[in-house]
Amino acid sequence: MAVYLDCNSTTPVEPSVASLVLRFLEKDFGNAASPIHDYGLFARSAVEHARMLVGKVVGARPDEVLFTSGATESNNMAILGLADAGIKSRRRHVITTAIEHKAVLEPFEELARRGFDVDILTVGPDGRFKVEDLAEALRPDTLLVSTMQANNETGVVHPLAETAKLLTGHDAWWHVDAAQGYGKDLEQLRDPRIDMIAVSGHKIYGPKGVGALILRKRDGLRPPLQPLAFGGGQEQGLRPGTLPVPLIAGFGEAAKLALRDNETRRTTCLAFRRLVHEALDRLGAGHNGDETWTMPHCVNVSLDGIPSDLAINALKGVIALSSTSACTSHTRTPSHVLTAMGRTPTQVETSLRLSWCHMTPEVDWDEVVGILRKIRSRR
């Protein structure tokens, strides 16, 4: 089987995580909302334990962690959940960037339809927005600033520390889509100025179908979100529905491991990245994202003369990879991220994203390079 190099779309599940999920599927299957018997009480204990573990990664208290189905839902809750507060306070200005995940951009489109004034910051060739552009865009009536931590297509990390400094003293709520960086880059997300953090379990070797929205309290109060769904009152009234205890328990275990093994995982990923660079540079790869600002587990390159669809197909017996985010690759539209970075249509069409993890086995890079060279020679 091909070596899996598409970890940015989803990661393999850690064995101990899978074991815990199975336990709560089979043996300890109680409902956390029925703490009137041991089955329900144990389920509730598992949920609260996971809440503590998930929050601990970013220095948040358990009562600041709301479980969701994943970062997409969390992003929607954070962005659209603030709409009423903005309308009531007459703050209808919101800011985001051009390279956000569609789970952010599309809720912003919805805000625009609801009458909000949306500013979208551009990015440079390095894939990062400029903090000075954000400073210029900020207004007294700015309700929300939304910036991702690390881009899902390029792995480029954004200037969160500088953004936090800029936003200090401003009342705008700050939301960070951290689906790609949570549990990996630990320091950035611990800044107390970040009000809302959206994360997914399946990016940190946890199960799919579970994530969290972390709502930091400001002066003892959480951001004034309104629920997007109703019926049940779970998760402090913001996310009703029976909690998926097996997934949540697994997510908590994954968070614990992400924190415990962070340094060793990073070291392993950096070593793998060196091999990736060595191989791709033999093909004269153009890098979409400065290595200085890129997460250690992801590379996005453009390979002149090698269309990405041909490359992916030719390599499928050797490595499994993608050309754009999994959320958009099936639509065959050009990457909005690479386009926003100023890449040419040709560079976009020949782009490949390789993303790996600490569990990725060795790759026969000579074979990879050989296959890609054959494609180029035929054109």
Binding site: L20, R23, L41, F42, A46, H49, M52, Q236
Partner: protein, 83 residues
């Protein structure tokens, strides 16, 4: 530091400097000092550790439960014994 070492440390702290009663501290220390008896139960020990760390006599007093009381700890100890 293993979860058992942490449990011993936190239990002593809560007993000596907090409000943890001796009747709970004793069985907690017994668990902490007998890791061989809790093989395959580390998940429950982790939960127990978190509960002891956040032990609060008035845990149930507020509208949200973000601390743990003696009943929580006793129940988890019972689960450990039963499994």
């Amino acid at each position: 530091m293993s979860v058992f070492d942490e449990l011993e440390e936190v239990t002593n702290q809560q007993y000596l400097h907090g409000d943890l009663p001796k009747w709970l501290a004793d069985p907690l220390l017994a668990v902490a000092r007998s890791p061989e008896l809790c093989q395959e139960k580390e998940y429950l020990v982790e939960i127990l550790l978190a509960q002891v760390r956040e032990y609060d006599v008035y845990a149930e007093a507020g509208c949200c439960k973000w601390a743990y009381d003696h009943e929580d700890i006793a129940r988890t100890l019972r689960w450990l014994e039963e499994q």
